[in-house]
Subunit: 319 residues, 2 copies
């Protein structure tokens, strides 16, 4: 069986979301071409790539040889037609505006070779709308990453009504071959899967703080040092399954009634997002993590997530 890694990948849009894809594809041998309509963006993105890799090498997460592979396999390409030439997979990461993405997909569909899959990074729009009426609708898919994608491996996948199921499958296979975890949605819903679940957590967590039940560090500790220990290792359904001797069906037959009552008590309105409360939260959690400023905070997260991913991969390999 030949590898499903795409030989040539075109990244269309090289901002924060677009650039993240470089580190998904390039380490696995794909030739990655980085295009942006603003030509000045391209060298900035390549400079970011060098820095990001250098930090990983310094911390031991990436070898010098792995860094060199990524750099060797990545090149900027300010000409869209050249970026798309012979591409097997095109990942669009343009601004979240339907008219922009629709027009761009029409162009990609005209210019990209017939074999190329056209994937959108959209975090909000319906791929059915983006690809609507295009001659090549059959080769259009949504592939929505988390950020940064090589550290948060899940990719939410959705077909347009006219997408060829074999194309969706091939896109999933390509992403899986590059170490990602593609997950399929069966239809469009606002926020897809991840942002919906995140919104549910943000809502309850902020309500608890805004209504004075507990302070932000207390609420966040419950997530960071209790619930998410389960979620990050065995998932939410896994945590439910582990909570009764006979598993999840027994758990909810026993506690479903209590859950239903508790769910009724949750506040379903939007939190106030009070800026003063939010600034206090920022100070409190920076103190908790022992870092100053968002950049240092992000760096700490990324280092810990890399270690956590290593831990999980060791267990995955043992299965």
């Amino acid at each position: 069986m030949t590898s499903a890694v795409p030989k040539i990948v075109a990244l269309v849009g090289a901002g924060v979301i677009g650039r993240g894809w470089i580190r998904v594809f390039a380490p696995h041998g794909a030739q990655v071409r980085v295009y942006d309509p603003n030509p000045a963006q391209i060298p900035q993105t390549l400079a970011w790539l060098e820095q990001d890799l250098a930090a990983d090498v310094a911390e031991g997460f990436v070898t010098a040889a792995e860094r060199d592979t990524v750099l060797k396999n990545t090149r900027g390409e300010p000409d869209l037609a050249k970026a798309l030439a012979d591409a097997d997979y095109v990942q669009e990461s343009a601004p979240e505006k339907l008219d922009v993405k629709h027009a761009l997909f029409a162009e990609l569909d005209r210019v990209a070779p017939a074999k190329a899959i056209l994937a959108s990074s959209t975090s909000a729009l319906d791929i059915g709308e983006i690809a609507k009426g295009l001659p090549g609708e059959r080769r259009c898919v949504m592939a929505h990453p988390f950020n940064p994608p090589h550290l948060m491996p899940v990719v939410e996948m959705l077909a347009a009504p006219g997408t060829d199921p074999a194309i969706l499958q091939k896109a999933c296979d390509m992403l899986a071959a590059c170490g990602q975890i593609p997950v399929r949605m069966n239809r469009y819903v606002k926020g897809f899967l991840g942002n919906r679940i995140q919104a549910a957590v943000v809502r309850e967590a902020l309500h608890l703080v805004e209504s004075g039940v507990a302070d932000a560090v207390a609420v966040d500790a419950v997530i960071r040092d209790a619930l998410a220990l389960r979620w990050a290792t065995i998932g939410n359904f896994g945590a439910n399954h582990a909570n009764a001797d006979e598993g999840i069906a027994q758990y909810f037959s026993r506690y479903g009634g209590s859950y239903a009552m508790l769910m009724e008590d949750l506040d379903s309105s939007s939190p106030r997002f009070d800026p003063q409360v939010l600034r206090q939260i920022a100070d409190a959690i920076e103190q908790r993590e022992g870092v100053k400023g968002v950049a240092a905070f992000v760096r700490k997260r990324d280092v810990m997530v890399k270690e956590l991913n290593q831990l999980k991969r060791r267990h995955e390999a043992r299965k």
Copy 2:
């Protein structure tokens, strides 16, 4: 400064929740007395303790010397008065019935020495009701653990209306000295903090599966391999803070409107908890984790959580 570790701890109720407290207190030098109204429960609990420690020693999480310390510091005591004699801290883990807990607290208050703090493991009841009208209401607190408590270090703390604030502080200090993370609630709400946030996640995750938007493994992957990587390392508010260059206040000033719209779209009814769907979920996640049966599933979770806690402690030590 003398250590805040309590010298003598009485555990009243030795079921799954009560027994978990042994491994919180005994490793830190507390003398732990294990009482249960059913005398047959006590040797069962001590046998469980030996097994639980043996598994940890076999896997390298606990040294033989640490195991011996826990065993040396723990004894069963079928006589309540003897269990309570000279106790500094009493942890009640009786069934979740208000009349049972209220009567038990009245008895503990009569029998325990004046210096003893009386803490309840209740996961649902209001400590204000449990301690209502007792002569010793001032020394009563809620200390609700996650399970197992030595792996899920957060303890939700709440005072009764008549609790002496110095007693609540002392209980928090004792738990922190034993490696726990006590978090204070300012008033009673159903489900406290953790079960509310968990219910919010369960609701949205099950709705997505029951309504056919995606299958359970897809929904759970979004939690396990994306969102919870952030939550377990930097918390929910930390994840929000890391998501905009100027932090959480900027993040929600930019995206609060999108969140509010998305929150309106979340289904606020209870899921159906359909047993057939739940059994399919069980099969799918056991296959995903490469384990068969709930006991193996729990064991895998515990091993991974221990490793994750070690990872987090290394970062904590670096602050």
